[in-house]
Symmetry: C2
């Protein structure tokens, strides 16, 4: 399993992912699931992937190959992130079509989702979720975050904390705590955690974070959050029962 | 959907459930999913149900009918909660067998899980999760809570707060916050919330709580928790990025 999330605020974007991949519980590996494609000054494009690894790796390879071969349509040539989302959706469909029948024979799940965040000169920063079928949705000011993979454990803190007005540094902090909550409740999500923070109109990623397993900072953040939550919990009044003895 | 949970601590048990039932998103109803079967002084038995309503209602009806008809095996006659779990599992299997083929024809999910908590004189308090197939697992000192239904949103707070040593009143508070988190992230879980707290060796339920929609107390708990979480979040230090500009 995997957990990736993207947050879009008025100041920019945060994208984060874990790195655990598992085929069953006895084959657990570490793969990077956050990819940057940027042309400083012109565009910042960040992708996060979840789902079948052979599918998502093939998609990323195909996007890279198109750039290398200077194809007509590439992540560097398209004029808007909307078109980039369409292009990635098409790529996903092609690779799916090529392999799906073979995997279906053995009942292997061959699906994958992607998060696409970034900014292309002339547009606002944008954030998309591209589904396995190639269609996609877009984050809005009302719903400024999107998640893929094991999304539920980490959603309550986002629901309570994130709005379009949230300062970008707080959004980044919240993203890390959302991943921390997920790792605590589900062993199929694990470090290294990769995170980038993108400041609107900078057209360059200046803030990156990679937190490997047992990283002291990651451990400290987890412990501090546990402590803060415990204090918040202790401060809550006891329940008022209907029938006290 | 539904969310029910049970917590077993050294001081006793907490059982809680929401009351929302939906068939699709356009047919949402309210059904109680927490049922008490107690013989004061001898036994306390509490059931929570999730899944297909016709299945779980039939199970509860069947258990009630057996009591009314003074059958040989009833919730009142069995000597241990383990046997009660077996008996409920059998009942579930019978009802499933009777209807499953008809529902399968129309691809209707006909599954349901139950939580069984309580104490029978001579034994310690115990907590079981009975699966749709009639088999079951039991809470332990190491894993003192069990959940059914929409379990993921409410699990992080349990993971961080609950141990076998947690005071029972704190466990009850945590159960309510776990449901509150779930309701905030998933509209298919909703009030009224039903909760009971059982003090070990009392063989009687003395603490009950029913929180209807827009209950001022429920609203206050939700708001206070949101506020406490926000403060805890604000107090967390900002991330230490690798490449500050």
């Amino acid at each position: 399993m995997t957990y990736c999330l993207g947050i879009m605020t008025q100041q920019g974007l945060v994208m984060a992912s874990d790195s655990r991949t598992n085929a069953g519980v006895d084959n657990v590996s570490t793969y990077k699931k956050l990819f940057e494609f940027s042309v400083p000054g012109d565009r910042v494009i960040v992708l996060c992937t979840s789902g079948n690894l052979s599918l998502t790796q093939s998609v990323i390879s195909s996007l890279e190959r198109d750039i290398k071969n200077q194809a007509d349509t590439t992540l560097y040539s398209l004029g808007s992130l909307y078109e980039v989302a369409q292009y990635i959706g098409q790529t996903l469909r092609q690779i799916h079509q090529e392999h799906a029948d073979w995997l279906r024979k053995d009942n292997i799940d061959f699906s994958g989702n992607l998060l696409l965040g970034g900014q292309i000169a002339g547009d606002e920063p944008q954030l998309f979720l591209i589904y396995s079928q190639g269609n996609f949705i877009q984050a809005t000011k009302e719903m400024p975050f999107l998640q893929i993979g094991e999304t539920k454990y980490g959603k309550p803190i986002l629901d309570r904390t994130i709005s379009y007005q949230t300062p970008l540094s707080s959004a980044a902090k919240c993203a890390l705590l959302s991943i921390d909550s997920t790792m605590k409740s589900n062993i199929s999500v694990g470090p290294p955690i990769n995170m980038v923070m993108y400041l609107k109109d900078s057209f360059e990623i200046r803030h990156r974070l990679r937190l490997p397993p047992r990283d002291p900072y990651l451990t400290r953040v987890g412990e501090q959050w546990a402590e803060a939550l415990k204090k918040a919990f202790d401060r809550m009044p006891d329940l008022e029962w209907e029938h006290e003895p």
